[in-house]
């Protein structure tokens, strides 16, 4: 499972006596560091979990990225450490204040206070033909959000999606929710890989897909 190569700028390093994923940049959330390297906690980051579980995310470093659901900037700060231009969309003002702190020391991380369900409100800022769309939004209609934002991806771009079953329906079985979400995604994407993130995030499904 863990055969996939990590992108340049993401390394497995020994930090506090443990081999951990790490990126190089200013610490954001009190994570342990080793010199310039900061540990990327897969328990606090869905994308970190996907890397740790060996998903083939198709990234080699330096990509242009749109990140939906940036929240306090925990994950997107790691993405900006190894990627190129990184657009971070977050709607709620309080986490956005922390996101700003993560963005200030990073010169290619662009915070946008926008609603990920309404891509037309930021398509005049976010560039086209992006290499990756990372989505971690805890609202109902996660497949619809991914579908609406497909317009930003290059033909060979990658959607890296963490689906939270409970955000769709608290009472349904997670597997049923995932089946439905994947079926809806098929309208705009070809799904390349899926896997449960339960080791790090309960009732979450990781999805790698590419636009149709």
């Amino acid at each position: 499972m863990s055969s996939s190569a990590l992108p340049a700028g993401v390394e497995r390093r020994e930090i506090d006596g443990e081999a951990r994923l790490a990126t190089r940049g200013t610490p954001v959330y009190g994570e342990p560091t080793d010199g310039e390297w900061r540990a990327w906690d897969p328990e606090r980051s869905k994308l970190g979990g996907m890397f740790e579980l060996g998903f083939d995310v198709g990234l080699s470093g330096g990509e242009t990225v749109l990140y939906l659901g940036a929240a306090s900037g925990t994950t997107v700060s790691h993405v900006a450490d190894f990627a190129g231009a990184t657009y971070a969309v977050e709607f709620a003002p309080r986490p956005a204040r922390d996101l700003l702190e993560a963005a200030e020391p990073r010169d290619r991380l662009f915070p946008l206070l926008k609603d990920a369900r309404k891509p037309e409100t930021y398509a005049h800022v976010v560039e086209s033909d992006l290499d990756a769309l990372v989505q971690d939004v805890a609202t109902r209609g996660q497949a619809a959000v991914a579908t609406r934002n497909a317009r930003f991806l290059a033909d060979d771009g990658r959607l890296l999606l963490a689906v939270k079953a409970r955000s769709e329906d608290v009472t349904a079985e997670p597997d049923d929710v995932f089946t439905e979400v994947l079926a809806e995604l098929e309208g705009a994407y070809e799904v390349l890989e899926t896997g449960r993130l339960d080791r790090f995030h309960e009732d979450h499904l990781g999805v790698v897909a590419t636009p149709r």
Partner: protein, 291 residues
């Protein structure tokens, strides 16, 4: 503030180094489809090269986000209360006026629909005489009030998460605003026990109960929440009690810390799943004996 040059980049009418103009363009602008903005910005002379463009974009997005965060954090519960009350007034008056306009129009034109939709249709008509003009003008005012109501609802959607992130997420912006308004402020909502939160908005029923004339109300305004309304009647009391308990905690988290607390929302979802699972267990157990 909005740019009408749809499908142009945010930088199209922004003078270089004018951060406030950049903020307006980023916040108010829109485009159906993205484009290769860095290349277009260089071609239009906004930036010298891609690196220069990204530097400007960074400065502009940081400024816009910083200002917007500060502005939304200045929004307070008093503003939210005014907004939700104004929204209710607009809705009530719009409906009344629309009904009057439609009734009047029915005596002069054929086929007027009822309600706001009817008023909108009448407002589109061409008047033939002075009385027509009055009817059509009245209908237009009803329609405009209905639009104002929608604008107020959109404002509440934006302001409520800033004022009370946990409450707004749990209850939805509108119900959060109504709870705060009924309690008289976020602080007084945060001080209320969950049993009071449960029956906020059902004061008439509560006083009827206290004077011995009626059973105790199971829920007040929180009835509008999907967790209560969408639960089968015999479990609604449990659902309302569970929801009210978490809403009270959400209001306290919002008032005393202001941080979003994921665990509150998880707990409520789990509790609701348990309550609703009773319906699947074929109802051999009725909604009692919980907690």
């Amino acid at each position: 503030m909005t740019t009408d040059e749809s499908d142009a980049g945010w930088f199209a009418s922004v003078p270089p180094d004018d951060l406030d103009a950049a903020r307006d363009a980023i916040e108010g602008g829109s485009a159906e489809v993205p484009a290769d903005w860095p290349r277009l910005a260089v071609a239009s002379g906004f930036a010298a090269d891609a690196g220069d463009y990204y530097d400007r974009l960074r400065e502009s997005t940081l400024h816009a986000a910083r200002e917007a965060v500060a502005e939304r954090e200045r929004a307070d519960d008093r503003q939210l209360i005014h907004a939700v009350r104004a929204m209710d007034d607009c809705e009530r008056v719009a409906n009344e006026l629309a009904e009057r306009a439609v009734e009047w129009a029915g005596s002069r034109f054929d086929g007027a629909d009822s309600g706001i939709a009817g008023a909108r249709a009448i407002a589109e008509r061409e008047p033939d005489d002075d009385l027509d003009r009055r009817v059509i003008s009245l209908a237009a005012r009803a329609a405009a009030l209905a639009d104002e109501r929608d604008e107020l609802a959109a404002t509440i959607d934006r302001v409520a998460p800033a004022v009370a992130p946990n409450l707004a997420d749990m209850a939805g912006p509108e119900l959060a605003a109504r709870l705060i308004a009924l309690a008289g402020g976020l602080e007084s909502l945060a001080r209320k026990p969950s049993g009071t939160v449960q029956v906020l908005g059902a004061e008439d029923a509560l006083f009827a109960h206290l004077s011995g004339r009626a059973p105790s109300p199971k829920h007040g305004i929180i009835y509008t929440h999907e967790f209560v309304r969408g639960t089968r009647p015999e479990d609604r009391g449990s659902a309302a009690r569970a929801l009210a308990g978490k809403l009270a905690l959400a209001a306290r988290a919002d008032h005393y810390s202001g941080e979003y607390r994921e665990v509150l929302h998880e707990d409520l979802r789990e509790r609701m799943a348990t309550i609703r699972a009773r319906a699947d267990a074929n109802g051999d157990e009725t909604g009692d004996g919980d907690e």
